[in-house]
């Protein structure tokens, strides 16, 4: 509990500092809206020509898309600092974090707040709400409970995968981690129904790099949609696995940390 409270305070302090630059804030909110708008435009264009893709209707795809945007926002809010990990390692700045009585990983995560977070959380939340309003979901208590488990699990997967991707900086030793950025781009593929991709790519996105568990599978389970809907019920397990993986990879990497000379 103490750990979480300190984490929240670190984020809070950075949030306050970030919000002092109002122009930056609004520019980045607009940027998030425009970026995600482009993706939505693509969806709208496709669905203007075909009514369904592999059995997925427009609002179902928007629901997946919204989950992905929301998860991106969550990762920018909770783990943006990991994008600076390569720089921290290169400049030997993990030193100071190792000297404090607080988990190093959480210090790295909370060392920044991504300003796109607000844009993406707003856009993602909006898309989720709109899609659900159009989808005529029967909100039985079971379904509410399912959503309450799936949503945080999915967000946790995204955050964990961001940590894993950036923890490779301990091995790569570049000043910026282009590998992590590449992985993140790969994850973008799962903004659309997984079945449109080749079997091999589907397998990768479902297992080795389980980005499909952020949007596609949990949405499948929630809507009980398609043959693979049951797979989405594994989302909490995948989340637990991803968190453990993130912690393990980061710890392993930290052992390689050699500081930097003066």
């Amino acid at each position: 509990m103490h750990t979480l409270r300190v984490y929240r305070r670190c984020l809070g302090a950075h949030l306050r500092a970030t919000l002092e630059y109002q122009a930056d804030f609004w520019i980045l909110v607009v940027a998030a809206v425009l970026t995600q708008g482009a993706g939505l435009l693509l969806i709208a264009t496709i669905f203007a020509r075909v009514p369904r893709i592999h059995g997925w209707g427009v609002w179902e795809v928007v629901l997946i898309f919204g989950m992905m945007v929301l998860a991106q926002g969550a990762s920018e809010l909770l783990a943006e600092g990991t994008w600076g990990l390569a720089g921290l390692i290169n400049r030997g700045e993990l030193d100071r974090m190792l000297l404090r009585p607080y988990p190093c990983l959480l210090q790295v995560c909370s060392s920044r707040v991504g300003m796109n977070a607000f844009g993406n959380l707003t856009v993602g939340g909006g898309l989720l709400g709109t899609a659900l309003a159009h989808l005529d979901v029967a909100w039985t208590p079971g379904r509410v409970a399912l959503a309450a488990v799936l949503l945080p699990s999915a967000l946790l997967i995204k955050v964990s995968l961001t940590v894993v991707a950036n923890s490779t900086s301990f091995w790569l030793r570049g000043a910026i981690n282009t590998f992590a950025a590449g992985l993140d781009q790969l994850g973008e593929l799962t903004k659309y129904p997984l079945s449109i991709y080749s079997v091999g790519l589907q397998a990768v996105l479902a297992t080795a790099l389980p980005f499909a568990f952020i949007g596609f599978f949990p949405v499948s389970a929630f809507l009980d949609h398609g043959r693979l809907a049951w797979v989405g019920l594994l989302t909490p397990l995948v989340a637990a696995w991803c968190v453990l993986l993130a912690v393990a990879v980061f710890r392993r990497g930290l052992r390689r940390y050699d500081s930097a000379g003066n």
Binding site: V6, R9, A17, D95, L98, L99, R112, D258
Partner: protein, 342 residues
């Protein structure tokens, strides 16, 4: 003398770094991808060090001697390749959280403040991380604000501080949780004279109050004004360990006379007449430097002997201090680097 407890105990401490051996250029980088070869560099090579509660130790040596690496090993930032460390009974790299509560660290070259946050926020986050009770925190803050005069810096963003302000804020950040031992890695580097004086006065007070201090420095002022014990390290090994005042006395036994001659110095001839002195050429070919033990012969006798052999235009007599030791240490080519230290 009251029995004292060892606060820092290091034995046989070794740290090796692996450096990739790459041929220059892109071709070399590509070849490295296939055949990975590494050079092993031993930054710390078997160091035994014991620091007792309440001691103030200067840890000095030339650049690359292994000073910072030792500090990083003692603080648990680095994991030793071999050997053992214990600080207040804790193995620092194995139990970082317990160790963190016992130690405070200041790096002169790098800040520990949250760069993007106001100084006040750093202090409050540290309070939360260290779980400092509210009353203790207020007491600590009041004291630190008063002696380091950082009250006016609290609302300022860390990255907007001047170097001197940053150093004071960093000192406060390292001491907020009232650690038993404070490591300072070049705490006065780059500071102007008046700020240096304030930092040293503060460190002196810290030592007087019973905090154990270990500092690395290139600055003789830091050593003489703050520390009672000096440990000299070079090439990863301890070369000298003893009280600062004893070292000063030993060195005070030596003097150096610098001559300016009318003609190029006949070094061999002078060496024959002054067999127990160190005779060397100075910067120019007409310069001559004679270093000798003052207990064996007075400076006047040396000067007279030289003047009897060659025509002297000018001369200057220097007594040696800790500064000379450091200077000679830093000049690694000098074989006599440590003769003065005994």
């Amino acid at each position: 003398m009251a029995p004292t407890a060892a606060l820092v105990e290091a034995s046989g401490l070794v740290k090796e770094f692996r450096r990739p051996r790459k041929a220059p250029g892109l071709a070399g980088a590509l070849r490295h991808l296939v055949t990975r070869r590494f050079d092993v560099h031993r930054a710390v090579d078997g160091i035994d060090l014991r620091v007792d509660e309440g001691e103030s130790v200067a840890y000095v040596g030339p650049n690359g001697a292994g000073k910072s690496t030792t500090v990083k090993l003692l603080t648990g930032i680095l994991v030793p390749t071999a050997g053992e460390v214990r600080v207040a009974g804790v193995v620092p790299h194995r139990d970082r959280v317990a160790n963190a509560r016992n130690v405070g660290v200041v790096f002169g070259q790098r800040t520990q403040l949250w760069w993007d946050l106001p100084v006040q926020d750093t202090f409050e986050l540290l309070r939360d991380m260290y779980r400092i009770p509210a009353a203790d925190y207020r007491r600590s803050m009041d004291r630190l604000c008063e002696v380091l005069e950082i009250g006016s810096l609290l609302p300022v963003l860390a990255r907007k501080l001047s170097l001197g302000q940053r150093m004071r804020a960093d000192l406060a950040a390292a001491l907020l949780h009232e650690p038993r031992i404070v490591y300072l890695d070049e705490p006065t580097i780059g500071l102007d004279v008046s700020v240096k004086d304030r930092v040293r006065a503060f460190l002196r007070q810290l030592v007087a109050d019973g905090t154990t201090v270990l500092l690395t420095t290139h600055d003789v002022g830091d050593i003489e004004e703050v520390c009672r014990r000096i440990v000299v390290v070079d090439e990863g090994r301890i070369r000298h360990d003893g009280p600062v005042d004893v070292l000063r006395d030993t060195l005070a036994g030596h003097s150096t006379v610098r001559f300016q001659l009318a003609a190029p110095a006949p070094l061999e001839l002078i060496r024959q007449h002054l067999p127990d002195a160190e005779v060397s050429a100075g910067a120019g070919e007409r310069d001559l430097v004679v270093r000798f033990d003052r207990t064996l012969r007075p400076a006047g006798a040396v000067a007279a002997a030289v003047m009897g052999l060659v025509e002297v235009r000018d001369l200057r007599i220097d007594d040696e201090g800790v500064a000379d030791l450091i200077r000679r240490l830093h000049d690694r080519d000098s074989p006599a680097a440590l003769t003065g230290a005994g």
